[in-house]
């Protein structure tokens, strides 16, 4: 964690209009130390002064899993993927969904929550929303362990598809980052998004195949349904974790990947375009 400024103490810094834009990625790398510190801070304070502390990380997805399993599996009587227990199928989808929902709501508010920093210190602003992803990632990892515990309980063994999980985690992160950056940037200027996001996240839970299998969607609508990038992510997670009982719908996955990539590109572009003005607006 060393800034490269140490190595060349008498470097010349030039400030002029448009200059930040040119050194963008080099600067981002130089400030990686701050990225880790901010991520550590977010983690350290997350469950301070809560009674059950880190247990919330375990409790939240478990409770959500129970509710969704009861409502979709029992009450609505929707079918599971192949022979997988309904609870496992729900939990496998819950992992990326919580990652997405958590990072979206944290990241989009992160710039405003750190307004004092943005207004008083220079660093690439991208660090702030990116650092919030770390917290979401850590909680994701804990949830993943719970899933393995559940699989052990149900005596359900994964197959080799599990090896592809890292690729889908990356896809999930990309899907999170794009919209998060976009909303974070918009939130600085239009505080409306503070109210839009919780609503959107709640809504997203029902339009994404979290509580049910995406196989329940009629075949002719599936490609269209995959425009929601979380569909591809969730299907991928189920395929990796539950094995071949969950068929992967390749055209849909491609569409989801494309949508996620374009969202990431759009989000980055929007963020970088407005970043310079953050200190003046916030």
């Amino acid at each position: 964690m060393k800034f490269s400024t140490d190595a060349i103490p008498t470097q010349t810094l030039v400030l002029e209009p448009g200059r930040i834009e040119r050194n963008y990625w080099a600067d981002l790398w130089r400030y990686r130390g701050l990225f880790f510190i901010l991520a550590w801070r977010d983690l350290a304070v997350r469950y301070k002064q809560t009674f059950i502390g880190i247990a919330w990380v375990i409790l939240r997805p478990l409770l959500a899993m129970i509710v969704l399993t009861v409502i979709f599996g029992r009450v609505a009587g929707m079918p599971s993927d192949g022979g997988a227990p309904y609870a496992l199928m729900v939990f496998a989808a819950m992992l990326p969904w919580f990652l997405f929902a958590g990072s979206l709501s944290e990241a989009s508010n992160s710039l405003i929550a750190n307004a004092a920093l943005v207004g008083k210190v220079y660093f690439p602003r991208l660090i702030i929303p990116a650092a919030t992803l770390v917290t979401a990632m850590v909680e994701f990892m804990i949830s993943l362990l719970i899933l393995f515990g559940l699989m052990f309980y149900y005596q359900y063994a994964p197959n080799w598809n599990l090896l592809f999980l890292p690729a889908f985690i990356l896809l999930a992160l990309a899907t999170c980052l794009g919209p998060s950056l976009w909303l974070a940037a918009l939130n600085v200027k239009y505080r409306d998004f503070r109210y839009v996001i919780p609503f959107a996240v709640q809504f997203g839970l029902y339009i994404s195949p979290v509580g049910f299998s995406s196989a329940a969607v009629p075949e002719q609508w599936r490609l269209l349904y995959s425009l929601n990038p979380m569909v591809g992510v969730i299907d991928g997670f189920r395929w990796c974790l539950l094995g071949d009982v969950s068929r992967l719908y390749w055209p849909g996955l491609m569409v989801s990947c494309l949508v996620a990539a374009s969202l990431l590109w759009l989000g980055l572009r929007q963020f970088r375009r407005t970043e310079k003005a953050f200190a003046d607006l916030i």
Binding site: M1, K2, F3, T5, D6, P9, T10, Q11, T12, L13, V14, L15, E16, P17, G18, R19, I20, G33, L34, I37, R41, A44, V45, K48, Q49, N114, A116, L117, G119, K120, V121, Y122, F123, V188, K189, Y190, R191, D192, F193, K276, A277, A279, D280, L281, I282
Partner: protein, 436 residues
């Protein structure tokens, strides 16, 4: 040139001012949409009528305009000026928080900017954790912070509370810790904004001492302040900003003199509707006005240290009063009473007549160090009775070191007063060793 630390060429920063609700800091989406539609509609209508399409609602505001300067390595430069003169904007541009709109700045060396004490402190984290967090935010590496850790803790005097969340700290401890981290930054160029405006007097003094050490160590410092005292003590040069442009850049004394003579402080006040601190029943007397003059009976608010101050009081009495006493108070910028000039001490017991009485007090030698002071007045019927009228801080005066203004006849050198408030001229002589 290699000895230039900061060089600015035609630096400008422009903000767009919206005429309607300029106070709103952020817009809602609705406002933006409505504005957008109205704007588009307005332009379309104007185009239809054949008028010129222009944006009538926004106005350019140049917070900084054509700023040119060079600061050499090791110089300590004070940036002074009124509120809104562009001081903070300049610091924000130089510390890369916001981009300049025009021009260019070259900075050689590692910059640390301190626009606020305790930026990024997290209340839930302990003192120890916040030292690392704040250090990283200010641009220190982890190894650097570890190396300086004990020094920081010792300076802040918080050893016992190192593992307590800072939200449980007293505000004094909080500020001490925050300043301690900042003061131990290893940077070639330091930019500081009004940091000394926090903490109690003792701590301010400590901070000032630390900044003095930093300045001695040959680092380049840019120091923004409203307080002329620290600027004159710490800085070699000063830059006076006004309306976003440099009015004066050079010798610290001359620039401060320029600034002080420029402030149009009132040299007289009618107390009829005085809004400040005032007490007393005003049963027999009421102080109506206070006015201050220099040796030549000219109204002024800037005095040289050791100069003569004359004060004229207008006191309205309801009846004949004999033996009443009155006085003039001189307080320093943090409200401490430095002088209480009392008529009775000098054996002056005037007979007050009903109606307006005008009295004049002359202080032959203003024996206070340079700084900002306030003048107040009081009157009481006799010793031991509460004041009938008591007016605090009615007028403000600046005491300056006249030598700095280029007055060759003044007797005072550049002063580092170390917290001393009052000076009195003495007689000094050298005795021969064998004299008795």
């Amino acid at each position: 040139m290699s000895d230039i630390a900061i060089s600015a060429e035609y630096l400008g920063k422009m903000y767009m001012l919206r005429h309607r609700d300029t106070a709103a800091r952020y817009q809602t989406l609705r406002e933006s949409l409505v504005d957008g539609v109205q704007h588009w509609w307005g332009n379309a209508a104007r185009a239809w009528r054949g008028e010129r399409i222009g944006n009538s609602r926004q106005e350019e505001f140049w917070a900084l305009h054509n700023i040119n300067f060079d600061i050499r390595v090791g110089e300590v430069v004070g940036v002074i000026g009124r509120n809104g003169a562009g001081k903070s904007t300049l610091l924000k541009v130089l510390s890369r928080i916001t981009e300049p709109t025009r021009g260019r700045v070259r900075i050689r060396g590692r910059v640390a900017s301190l626009l606020e004490v305790g930026t990024g402190f997290h209340p839930e984290l302990t003192g120890r954790e916040n030292i690392f967090l704040n250090g990283a935010i200010l641009g220190m590496t982890r190894t650097e912070i570890q190396g300086k850790f004990d020094e920081i803790v010792a300076f802040a005097e918080i050893e016992k509370f190192l593992d307590t969340p800072v939200k449980r700290y007293s505000s004094g401890m909080y500020v001490r810790l925050a300043f301690a981290v900042a003061a131990h930054l290893e940077a070639e160029i330091l930019m500081i904004d009004e940091v000394l405006a926090v903490g109690d007097a003792a701590f301010q003094k400590k901070c000032l001492g630390k900044m003095g050490d930093v300045a001695q160590a040959g680092r380049t410092i840019l120091f923004v302040s409203h307080n002329m005292g620290p600027v004159s003590q710490l800085c070699h040069k000063a830059m006076l900003l006004d309306g976003g442009t440099i009015q004066c850049f050079g010798d610290v004394g001359q620039t401060i003199g320029h600034y002080l003579s420029d402030i149009s402080l009132a040299s007289a006040i009618e107390l009829e509707h005085f809004k400040g601190s005032r007490r007393g029943l005003r049963e027999f007397a009421e102080i109506k006005s206070i006015a201050i003059f220099d040796t030549n009976r000219q109204p002024t608010t800037v005095f040289g240290m050791g100069e003569t101050l004359a004060i004229r009081l207008g006191i309205h009495c309801k009846k004949h009063v004999n033996g009443a006493i009155f006085g003039i108070m001189l307080r320093n910028s943090i409200g401490i009473l430095i002088h209480d000039f009392r008529s009775a001490f000098d054996g002056f017991f005037p007979a007050f007549a009903p109606g307006l009485n005008v009295l004049e007090v002359t202080v032959p030698t203003l024996s206070v160090y340079p700084g900002q002071y306030t003048i107040g007045a009081w009157i009481q019927q006799q010793i031991g009775i509460a004041s009938d009228d008591y007016v605090n801080d009615a007028l403000k005066i600046s005491i300056i070191d006249k030598k700095l203004l280029g007055d060759a006849n003044a007797n005072f050198e550049i002063i580092s007063k170390e917290g001393a408030e009052v000076y009195h001229p003495c007689t000094w002589r050298m005795l021969s060793p064998d004299s008795e």
